[in-house]
Symmetry: D2
Subunit: 143 residues, 4 copies
């Protein structure tokens, strides 16, 4: 694994009257990135919710460098930045060919359907193991 | 009652690179219109779902006459166009001052949380009565 | 050509608290369908706007049969339903494997950047020819 | 002035299948907040663009404390956190009655229609003065 890459085509709907992608839409792309990352780790997010595990976002940040535009083909890189017992941070980079357009991160809590924190290592050792491994590979990849 | 009026300010997010409101956003406005209509009828939609009654959309149509633009203050008129035992049709007009921008309708089924049709008159006689009355007033209003 | 097929993965963002795709999002998918159709006809929509040709939507309708859900892989079929000198109608079907989820259409005017109607056959004979051919094939395909 | 308050009703469209407001929608609310703030300062954002001044977002962050839900009536507080010659930071708080739901900020560059940086104090002394005053009041308000 390491950094997972998703390809996204910018929709007309994503643009605003400045002729660029509206800033909130990058967060929708981040959702696509982490969904695809988890699918390729063998853990589709739809399975999470069936197992009473939810990952609400508790923090987001994004730096916008160069605007994406209509019909651009975007490469979204996603990786696991850090992992703790009750939360995980995903990192993201949005690129158009070699150009960096934006960089961001989202932090998520592990909770059950009533919103109570869940210790992932106990609740789902398999998932915990896969995330640990993915994180190690992501960080190894940077060296 | 008759025709219910909601005021909506066009957001930057609603625009696209043509400099006008993206066409799907009118459907979001329609949702605001019927939500406000039902609230003023004394039946907030959030109460519906607590009573195991859902109104999924089964048909929508919209005619776009003149585009809405950023920061416009829009008047949305909403009324009950027709009512049957298991479905309801809402009508909508989007206006900017006296100018008609768009006209549309949405048709909804009455179903329970498992998606089964619900005969509204039996399931909720109070709500049925209010809708009948609102429809009569809407149509009387046109004469 | 005939009916063009696009593949779309349902995003978490597309769902609402009923657990199904929010109805306005089908119109965003329709935009993807016609964009992809035109790209495969050799006429990317971004080129249209560079040639001072715009296709604002003047009418939309959609029938919703079965709800799409999170993470579904959707097949969207798009074709040219009808074509006139100053307008075009696209038809759409949303499918999940063999199941029909929704069917809709959008009607568009041909206008220039100031909103004036454009007679496509004169403004862009090449594009007009491609659209005519695509429409004929779409209709031949139904027989 | 000080902290400007906008009232926002949560739309069905804003929810996701977790039954809470999708995280990217808070950024749309932030846009409403800064738009309303600038309108009340006597500088509607639509006037900015007519004067060849744009405020693209270059950074955003948001902390999510408690989820907003369908039909909630939200109070959004907006203020000017900091101001420099070529950029401005807005601060935001999302509240439901007395409860803090989220807190965030957006940083914007001052640029012209070609994306070139603009020194606001020179480009628009009136606007610069109003923003300075609003920032001072916002900070005085905290004491």
């Amino acid at each position: 694994m390491m950094r997972d890459e998703s390809r996204i085509r910018v929709r007309y709907k994503d643009t605003d009257q400045m002729g660029i992608v509206y800033y909130a839409n990058y967060l929708v792309w981040f959702e696509i990135g982490r969904t695809e990352l988890m699918r390729r780790l063998g853990m589709p997010y739809r399975e999470f919710e069936k197992n009473n595990l939810y990952l609400p976002v508790i923090r987001v940040s994004c730096d916008y460098k160069v605007p994406a535009r209509y019909d651009d083909e975007i490469a979204l890189l996603t990786w696991i930045e850090s992992l703790q017992e009750v939360r995980v941070v995903f990192g993201y980079e949005v690129r158009r060919e070699e150009e960096l357009l934006a960089r961001g991160s989202t932090e998520h809590a592990f909770v059950n359907s009533t919103g109570r924190p869940v210790v992932l290592r106990k609740h789902s050792p398999f998932l915990w193991g896969r995330l640990c491994k993915a994180m190690d590979e992501a960080h190894g990849d940077k060296k």
